[in-house]
Symmetry: C2
Subunit: 332 residues, 2 copies
């Protein structure tokens, strides 16, 4: 196996927490999230400060749910969408934790868990915290348009969710187990439209999922859930097609966090997006289902669009990346 790593010591997710904005809390996963904010400013003066406060609450919540205190965390792995990943870095500062900054755009939850699982598996660190999040209002104004402009949303657009999620990994304690990770390549099919992220990221997801099945000899039916991060309605359809062309039928156990994040009435066009989408669904919904053993083995495959305003203004296309991790109910 070239891109896939197996974790013999089965690192456990011993703590997890999800926090979302009001619109997100009103969606189909609403009852699974640990905390729903009353408004997007969360008592702060700017949306960036609100994003950070949300991030900090996710970190606190995950540590508490693991029955630990911040001083028992050996390392924090985190990233986010803001330039210089400030939500992550300032949170690490405020908790005074040893810290590695990660950038994988919306694939960050898988990237931090994959690297963290490797470090815990190797016995290098006891408890590792993995976190990410996104905020609609900070992401839109950084990557697209100031919200005040009131730009019309196109049919392929997605709604960057206001949400954060965090997990604590350890070899000690109880929880779902991370048993494998497949590290993805950067794939670029030449999409240049920042309002069509699903199409930009689907080829990367296809590449990583294909590699995962190819290297492990597994097939889609070996998982009771295969879930991408934020491909949205259109991106998920493209992924299914791309994999069918390679001879893989994802089947009914496939779904996408972004596509399922909002109801049709919530009017988000192709669905949710952002680091927070897969992070909150993982830490809110999937981990709870694994703990109840209503899910046994999940392939979690968040995707990231590596877009940048500078690169776009200079005529570049938007490459995508995707990492996959296998999470099992374990125990019993």
């Amino acid at each position: 196996m070239n891109q896939t790593v197996e974790f013999r010591n089965r690192p456990k997710i011993i703590g997890s927490y999800s926090i979302v904005g009001p619109k997100e809390g009103a969606g189909p996963f609403g009852s699974y999230f640990d905390y729903v904010m009353k408004n997007d400013l969360f008592g702060e003066k700017t949306y960036e400060l609100a994003e950070r406060k949300m991030f900090e609450q996710a970190v606190t919540g995950a540590i508490e749910s693991a029955g630990l205190t911040a001083s028992q965390i050996n390392l924090m792995l985190a990233g986010d969408l803001l330039n210089q990943i400030i939500s992550s870095s300032f949170t690490a500062r405020d908790f005074s934790l040893p810290y590695l900054g990660i950038f994988g755009a919306c694939s960050t939850m898988a990237e931090t868990l994959a690297v963290g699982a490797m470090m815990v598996n190797g016995g290098h660190f006891g408890n590792i915290l993995c976190a990410t999040g996104s905020h609609f209002s900070t992401a839109e104004r950084q990557f697209r348009f100031p919200l005040e402009l009131g730009n019309q949303r196109v049919p392929t657009s997605q709604w960057t969710v206001t949400a954060a999620g965090a997990s604590v990994l350890s070899l000690e304690g109880k929880g779902p187990e991370i048993t494998m990770a497949t590290f993805g390549k950067v794939v670029d099919f030449g999409i240049v439209d920042v309002n069509n992220m699903g199409a930009a990221m689907a080829p990367a997801a296809a590449e990583t999922i294909f590699t995962h099945f190819n290297e492990t000899g597994r097939k889609p039916t070996d998982y009771d859930l295969i879930v991408t991060g934020d491909l949205g309605k259109l991106g998920a359809e493209i992924l299914v097609d791309l994999l069918e062309d390679k001879g893989i039928k994802l089947g009914p156990n496939y779904s996408d966090c972004g596509h399922s994040y909002f109801t049709r009435e919530q009017d988000t066009m192709c669905g949710g997006s952002g680091c927070g989408a897969s992070a909150s669904v993982l830490n809110g919904y999937i981990i709870k289902k694994l703990k109840k053993r209503e899910l046994k083995r999940v392939l979690f495959v968040p995707t990231g669009a590596l877009m940048s305003t500078t690169a776009s203004q200079q005529g570049e296309s938007i490459p995508g990346i995707s990492h996959a991790i296998v999470i099992e109910a374990g125990g019993k």
Copy 2:
């Protein structure tokens, strides 16, 4: 040891490459760099494209110097200063390598090597490529002012170097060995001046170096070189003072890549800075000295200023981070 990890299998740096701009090539390390560009645009239309081309040459050079081809690299760990680390991500795309994006500002060379060493040490991947770089003209316009304004430079300012460096890690082959890493915390002493990076980063370097000596029981004389990344003249002085206050005398074996990067006549005020400073000195100068056994054991401690224009505009101070790795001549 809490923040320090020891690598029992001693991952080796089997390939390395450094490339710099003309001003950098005219400095004291000039003869050690593998390639000196004739001009900062490097035949490209924009400075961002020049940065990427330089990055790609560093990657190609490191892989060739390891006697490998790109298809034999199992994973690329990289980061840079540009928003969404586009130099790294687009390079990973162009080489079609499995990729983990890292963000540690100017501490990136140590962050990638520390994480890479852990992965190689654990036997998870065979050959890992670590890379970073920076470009004067892209960094200045992103973080400070458009160069066209011709702003006056203040006495505490540093010159972001145009340089990139890359290393290949493996358990097989020959080369200097990475034997330890100390992962740092985010430290913030309240500096708000983007033209005083040395003062912003020195406390993080002090914290990481103190932790390293404290956890390992070593002392400065156990190293024949202790080298920070880009504290510059002022930052290096602050570091020496901060550590003296904690009872540690760094002594004559201490130096800073940024401080030593240019001659006084090159008029860079406090010296060089940027991810490329420590990356090019490591891959150009230090590794060559280790191979010749003119250096035996080096403590390499790049520092990063986690600044962001958004955070600065909202009144935030600039936190710093620093990671340390121990590199030994090994062999014989």
